[in-house]
Amino acid sequence: MEIQQFNYDNKTVKYFIIATMIWGAVALVVGLLIASQLAFPALNLGIEYTTFGRTRPLHTNAVIFAFIGNAMFAGIYYSLQRILKARLFNDVLSKIHFWGWQFIILCAALTLLSGFTTGKEYAELEWPIDIMIAVVWVTFGWNMIGTILKRRVKHIYVSVWWYLATFLGVAILHIVNSIEIPASLLKSYPVYAGAQDAVVQWWYGHNAVAFFLTTPWLGLMYYYLPKSANRPIYSYQLSIIHFWTLIFLYMWAGPHHLLYQALPDWVQALGVTFSIMLIAPSWGGMINGLLTLRGAWDKVRDNADLKFIVVALTAYGMSTFEGPMMSLKSVNAISHFTDWTIAHTHIAGMGWNGGLIFGMFYWLVPKLFRTPLYSKKLANTHFWIATLGILMFAIPLYWAGITQWLMLREYTKDGLLAYPNFLETTTQILPMYKFRILGGLLFLTGFLMFFYNIFKTVNAGSMVANEPAEAPVMIDSSARKYGESFHRMIERKGVVFSILVFIALAIGGAVEIIPMLKIQSNIPKIAAVTPYTPLELAGRDIYVANGCYNCHSQQVRPLRYETDRYGEYSKIGEFVYDHPFQWGSRRTGPDLARAGYVGSSTYKTAIWHYNHFTKPLEINPQTIMPAYPWLAKNVVDLSQIPTKIRVMQMLGVPYAKDYDQKAVADYQAQAQKIVDELKVSGVVVAPDKEIIAMIAYLHKMGRDISPANQKK
């Protein structure tokens, strides 16, 4: 039988490892910054580029796509070659993938801080970058599938199924959620609006967690844990069952981000049901991993890499139980919009993803550079510091979340809200925010130890860029053998396998999204709700650009303590012209859905808004909202207004025919009214300043359904 000589590509793996280290440091430093900005708002520095609303998306994107993304590619490319006994398909594709991904990250950093954002979480990047992501992702898939096709092993080991599902899942999610119409080079509007946009966005958002933060990492766990422990995975059967179950169920769980919100009940019910069902396959992965170490726990004692993997699996189990529990409506009523959600995401991000990255690299780098790890003691110290850091991060936030909810729902014996001022709840949880900074600092300190240890290991060793290997040539035996199960057969057939994975992935999104798009009865219209005026539309774009949705929601839930606080609960028909939706997922500040409803607790006059934007501490000395002085200085580009109106018309917003011709005149007329109102209070500001548009937008929210508007 012929033995073929070939080389493994280690250089690409090394590049992705280096990128992980650099971007990891950036992501964690930005994380520490934003945690500090919440506790000490002066750290926003009064500059638009460093304000929390822009730095927070930078942190999330850096962690998910730069830190975790690069680590994922390093791990996949190393393991893929060795599982399949084949070099990566094409060196040019590998280079395009690596450099393309780093360029995307750079573009993301620059555009997010500059305020070019879609306003949709984890999909903030604007359309040119979305196209680049699609191109680079296809390159990655091409490289991976090409390697699968030229493999020297017939059977495709379980890790590669997870990598395939990752590629297909992210491709579907990114394409569907990123369908947007450009209005300019760095501004676009999604084709979806309101509740439809919400369903698509959180189908994407939750499945970004699934197919970027879970499936590839389960695949990596199925390779690196057996290699580290030198033991086979506990149950191959379990890996088959939980793979198909997980990739099918995950796609349905998205609506659990939208419970008690303006979404049809049947969609919410689907999200809850499938989220609970998801416990089973998720725990299948955790059990398979932990039981792999049966009889080998002494190895965990001595090896930092195994310690990290064990903590990662434990954190995975915790998060995948907590998540479904938070998907129950009664629990979600407490947790949503609070720091409980942040604690949950960080147990998963720091524990599961972080733990696996550290565990994987502590094994992989010495292997790749053919030298022992520089310091086992340092690695073990890192482990304890990181674990402590995760606890010190999450526990204060659980405390903060519950405290805030308890205050928000508290009533006096007269039946009035005990804490009618939202700011009272924020002030109460500030000590927890300060404590959380310590947790983040510990985690960053551990990361710096990891950075140093890996750096010294790399320097001490030497890597063979093209590692020689040999393997028997693959014998073509694709026909199904007697007695062979169907799954065993498709494990040998990568293309068939991929098609079945695609079908499994597509069903969940299709059954939730298509009816939302099609069935008009899902979105009852409200006759009084009118499209945004040109001035309000410009204000909305400024709201999105400054990331206001990171701290403010626009969604009053039908819970008594919310309607008593904010006013009428939000109806689905209010959001039919919202491209994108801005319901928000966190209330660091109060909900704004009734900010334009005269008489509501959140309605404020133009002069109040002007002062609150420019000097928030003079309005509320205890506020943590940063100042936005640039809104009074920056000028709106009026030449873009007609284009925006035309794009909205294309998206189905019922502006009058040729309205783009008179949009600027309407803009200026409405702006002048606000200018005149401010002048009465002694403030002189030009009508084309951003702050005028923002005030107009805030005064639009909830106004259409208010009695004042009905009288007109």
């Binding site: 006994k85 080991y157 191959y236 298509i514």
Partner: protein, 62 residues
Amino acid sequence: MSFVSGVLNGVDGIQYYYIAGLLIFITLFIVILYRTIKIPRKDLMKFKASILENDELESNEI
């Protein structure tokens, strides 16, 4: 997305498709579960150990 809505306007009962999806899933789950349990043990051991093997020059025909 009005053109999508328009295309699907004539699809009656589309809101019940999720029930069909759920039934398909449950059926497939039972089938996959049964067939997986029936996989011969020796084959499972072979695949579990495949990534731990040294580079042994033996046939890789399955």
